[in-house]
């Protein structure tokens, strides 16, 4: 007898007395239904935003970077802020699927598929910003090291900006492979239930001819585990390298050794907030409350309060170092440009503090962690706060140079700069709407795999095992 047992103290991760077939029904059902009116409305809004983004980018490519309000010292503005913001959001997916897999956190199974999808779309959005920031975007391939007719003049392998090229592209590729290799068996499930010709054909192609053979599953398990092992340091490395873009420079406010862990914690923080925003809607719209339970939401809120507090400690440490270093430029940046409320950009610093450090503390209360409205509201607040953080880091360090004569005029974005940002929202949500409608949003095979350990009906069966005396238990289960 194969004993699967999990403590009764742990909340069931799959509620509603499911069996294997019901799991398939529940998750594949929404894919087979016709899209609702609400879906179309959301999708068209996303596409409209995307179109505005395309137009903004068209302006920027045709007329040049002057379409944006970047100026003399603020060479990085909204564009790089948005880049770091999106990359940060893109960290939750791989964190959930990789690090939590290695840590054997069962609750990841309910949210990992959607979180990985979110990661991929967020990284796609992030990538647009540095690429179009290059100005002459048709030269973008110059960042790749290939033997060329310019010498060959190579890229600078000692530069963090080039490390970023490698880090982001590797991260995107590996996340995509991880996501898709997990999707193959689930596509096969959709394929084998398909009724129409078109579905059979499309899902048949997407499922790569998966049969569910034991040998294939054995290899699939090995693949997932090694990819998780590889992705774990990868997640940490990517935002570390993004932070190197700043930390290896000698700009006051950027030149700090605290950046890598601080950025990684911030990335997880914003990523989980985005997962919350999306999953609260998805579970409601597609009726998946049995798979993404309040327990899942609570677990993610715990991560949010932890990482939010880590980020808070980092902010305070920076302020302390701004004073303790007794470097007047550092002191000016941290204590005037940032922490002084009435400095030109003081509002963004205090916005960041309020959104990232103070408000998430609400999640120390269990009642708040399990309140969907509070969670959704907070997830939006956290992402606004994390956007402020990147804006604070970039703009408050750049707007005043060492030389007062080169201090810049007040920077605020142009229409097309904002349009580009809105466009990436369009891209993100267009992709996410398509994903939510046509892909299994929850990893079906993984849910089935944990069902008999953590489904509520199976847990109830185990309570009689729990009451057994040792002798009885040995008699029953030890052969």
């Amino acid at each position: 007898m194969h004993l699967k047992y999990e403590s009764q103290l742990r909340e069931p991760l799959v509620s509603g007395n499911k069996n294997y077939h019901q799991v398939t029904e529940d998750i594949v059902g929404p894919i087979e239904a016709k899209p609702t009116k609400l879906w179309y409305i959301g999708f068209y809004i996303a596409v409209a935003l995307l179109m505005f983004g395309v137009y903004s980018v068209y302006r920027e490519v045709t007329y040049g970077i002057g379409q944006w309000n970047l100026n003399k010292t603020i060479g990085w503005g909204w564009d790089i802020t948005n880049f770091v913001w999106w990359v940060g959001i893109g960290h939750a997916g791989t964190l959930i699927s990789a690090i939590l897999l290695l840590f054997r956190q069962g609750w990841r199974t309910g949210v990992n598929r959607a979180a990985e999808a979110m990661t991929i779309f967020a990284v796609m959005c992030a990538g647009q910003f540095p690429i179009f920031h290059m100005g002459r975007v048709w030269m973008a391939f110059f960042v790749l090291p290939y033997p060329n007719s310019r010498g060959p003049l190579w890229v600078n392998f000692n530069s963090p900006l080039l490390w970023d090229v490698f880090a982001i592209s590797t991260y995107f590729t590996v996340s995509l492979l991880f996501w898709y290799s997990g999707l193959i068996p689930d596509f096969a499930t959709v394929r084998d239930r398909a009724k129409t010709k078109l579905r059979k054909r499309l899902y048949g192609t997407a499922a790569f001819g998966w049969t569910g053979s034991t040998k294939h599953w054995q290899r699939h398990e090995s693949l997932s585990l090694v990819l998780a092992g590889l992705s774990t340091p990868l997640v940490l490395s990517v935002h570390t390298i993004v932070s190197f873009d700043f930390a290896t420079s000698v700009i006051p406010g950027w030149h700090t050794t605290i950046f890598p862990p601080y950025f990684v914690a911030g990335a997880i923080f914003s990523g989980f907030a985005m997962v919350q925003s999306l999953m609260i809607i998805v579970r409601k719209v597609f009726n998946l409350q049995d798979y993404v339970t309040l327990g899942h939401i609570e677990a993610m809120n715990k991560v949010i309060v932890l990482t939010g507090s880590i980020v808070g400690i980092a902010y305070l440490t920076e302020l302390f170092m701004g004073w303790y270093s007794q470097n007047k430029y550092e002191g000016y940046t941290f204590w005037y440009s940032r922490a002084y409320l009435f400095s030109p950009y003081g509002w963004s610093y205090w916005g960041m503090m309020a959104c990232n450090v103070l408000s998430p503390q609400i999640f120390w209360s269990r009642k708040m962690r399990r309140n969907l409205f509070v969670t959704f509201f907070m997830s939006v607040i956290v992402n606004i706060g994390m956007w402020f953080e990147r804006f604070v880091i970039i703009v408050t360090s750049l707007y005043r140079d060492y030389l007062p004569s080169s201090w810049s005029v007040y920077y605020s974005p142009s229409t097309y700069e904002i349009g580009f940002y809105l466009g990436t929202f369009g891209l993100f949500f267009t992709c996410f709407f398509l994903f939510a409608k046509y892909f299994p949003t929850i990893a079906i095979a993984e849910i089935k795999y944990v069902l008999k350990t953590t489904g509520d009906n199976y847990k109830e069966d185990m309570s009689k095992v729990e009451k057994m005396k040792v002798d009885e238990f040995v008699h029953e289960y030890a052969h």
């Binding site: 048949g204 294939h216 590889l230």
Partner: protein, 196 residues
Amino acid sequence: MAKKKFVVACFDDEDVLFPAVKKVRTAGYKIQDVYTPFPVHGLDHALGMRETSLHTAGFIYGITGTTTAISCISWIFTKDWPLNIGGKPHFALPAWIPIMFELTVLFAAVGMVLTFCYLCQLAPFVKKHHFHLRATDDLFVMAIECTDKTNVDDLKSFLSNNGAVETDVQIAEEGWWFGRYDNDEIPFQKSQIVAA
């Protein structure tokens, strides 16, 4: 491609499947494969499969990535075009670690996924015989290869006695072929019929 005759038994619970696998194997039947909707731990051992070496392949791909990164960068920066960057050493190993790491991960991941797809013969437009459509839903499907000596009826009742909820006999292609899932034709079989 060879067509073979299989006795197919479906189980609806992995706890019934395990003893059945054991009994079928001790009775001397050859289990072609067991198709399951999710990875059933220990089933590979119960079927007598060896461990996969995919992770070893992954390690080899990984170190290939590391070596590629360090050899390319060091050749570029010390031999091909030694750039003077602030008078710093040309061979600046610490600065190359990020790229070496990224390429290690990239090579290992891409290589492993391709190897996985090759070993399992997975690709778009590849089609295989599916013994039971519910094998990806809620059934555990065991396919047993028949030889000339196999008594099909005996085997079927043996399987039913061991908990199979459904049994039948299928003649099926073992391998894969290019095909679409909305189309039941098997390209090379058609030509066989014409020749006959």
